[in-house]
Symmetry: C2
Subunit: 288 residues, 2 copies
């Protein structure tokens, strides 16, 4: 974490500051992306750049650079910070605002973030989720609206839960930092609207499509409670089985067969992605 990028300049991370009139700070008006770096490669970078642009458009913020330049900065930061395993955050704010309300020219920040991957036993035994009635404002955009997630993290930790899942009393939306899927009678179900379009979720659906039927539709709390299996996805947690909802077991309380199949299939898919990026990098670097 030696270097960060702000508005066109790479500078010492310790010196990376914004003026207090920034609208991200003052009014929570900002979008971001977080992407995992594995083996020095930014995982699913193209998808993250796509979603970054879509989130920005939903807030009527125009990024100062297109995806090619953003990708170049991400790769430069990975190189200069010598990141083999870690994370990169891209943040686009409403910019400096004199009246603390009207957006100005967006500020763009790209910075490395240290990552603590979840412990292996969460994948072997499955994790616990807790539920909370909440709906993110403008859920299709990845904004910095994490008020509830940050506030409930302590309660989640105290209860041994890995994630807080939002619902409205009837419909289940998503985790505070993850997408949610369930398996019932051999069908994979996951919400498509009124939730963040998860990128790990998208790739998991890609590998799941040849394996089992998929229904992309809203599901209820009751369906969640009576699911055979529940799965969380996210950039850091990847594909994680959930075996407990509040104090109730999911199915028989063990990691289910579909979760195992899907975790393995996702790891193969991710491995293939990383191999291909490595090959491309070698190809680009070669003199031919």
């Amino acid at each position: 974490m030696k270097y960060a990028y702000i508005n066109g300049t790479i500078l010492e991370h310790a010196q990376a500051t914004l003026h207090i009139s920034d609208l991200g700070l003052r009014r929570g008006y900002a979008v971001f992306e977080f992407l995992r770096v594995l083996e020095g490669i930014p995982v699913f970078l193209e998808d993250h750049l796509d979603r970054f642009a879509r989130s920005a458009a939903l807030l009527e913020l125009e990024p100062p650079h297109g995806p090619e330049e953003l990708a170049r900065v991400v790769l430069e930061l990975i190189g200069r910070n010598q990141i083999s395993e870690g994370g990169i955050q891209m943040l686009l704010t409403g910019g400096y605002s004199e009246d603390a309300f009207t957006p100005g020219r967006p500020n763009l920040i790209i910075t490395p973030i240290p990552v603590n991957p979840p412990p292996p036993q969460l994948y072997e035994k499955g994790g616990k989720i807790i539920l909370h009635q909440n709906r993110r404002e403008l859920p299709e955009a990845k904004t910095t609206d994490y008020l509830v997630a940050v506030r409930l993290a302590k309660r989640a930790r105290a209860e041994g839960a890995t994630e807080v899942v939002y619902h409205d009393g009837r419909w289940v939306f998503e985790g505070g930092r993850s997408s949610l899927l369930l398996v019932k009678n051999g069908v994979l179900v996951t919400a498509k609207e009124e939730v963040l379009p998860g990128i790990t979720r998208k790739h998991l659906l890609e590998v799941a499509r040849p394996l089992l039927p998929i229904e992309e539709r809203p599901f209820t709390l009751e369906e969640l409670y009576y699911a055979d299996e529940v799965i969380l996805t996210g950039a850091t947690r990847q594909v994680m089985p959930i075996t407990q909802i509040e104090d109730r077991p999911v199915g028989n309380g063990q990691v289910g067969p579909w979760a195992k199949v899907l975790m393995e299939a996702f790891q193969r898919h991710l491995g293939a992605y990383l191999s291909q990026r490595r090959a491309n990098a070698v190809h680009k670097a070669s003199p031919h």
Copy 2:
């Protein structure tokens, strides 16, 4: 706007920066207060300090100073910036966070903000509001969650509206930056729960109490549409009559008699408050 305050230090406003790892910027985890300065006096300062402490407690943030020291800084900033008419914002964030998620030691910022009071015709002819289905997360706390308000400001302006009012399809909550009251059959009605405890609203209720019956309870969209009068309150707009909801007039479309009475009563109340503060200031400064 020459000076601002950050974490114990008054510094040049232009130099007032936070590191990009601040959790207010990264995750919208911050509370604030905005208070009007009139005749060099911070209006309803005690109420704002109270609410600041309550908002902070709801986010489990501990302000580094108690209300006396915060009041002292506010007065010092008013003096050093020579503010006669304007505004002051106090902001308390989740602090610097290495993992961009776990709160650290809160950052406290106090800074002047320029204010453009609404044009007089809004008080003479009344304003227009537009409606939007939204509920602020953790509405009782004054957080920096203004994503929807900032995003809709352009639409409001384009439609000639002074404010966006949030509802859930049935119940009406509050304006993006204001509290909402209605008058029906001589009774003043305003929501008390699931909304920000508005300070101008509180003072308006104080002056209204001897004048007409008050019901502090939730009200519906239907009640809003069929109200005799509608009133908005806020630190900058003070007490503002609303004569149009979307494309429908409120009552006969004119500023109603209760709005006139309440605007006048509030101005007297505010005048008395300012006189008393001036007297206190003279008293404190006198050598007796």
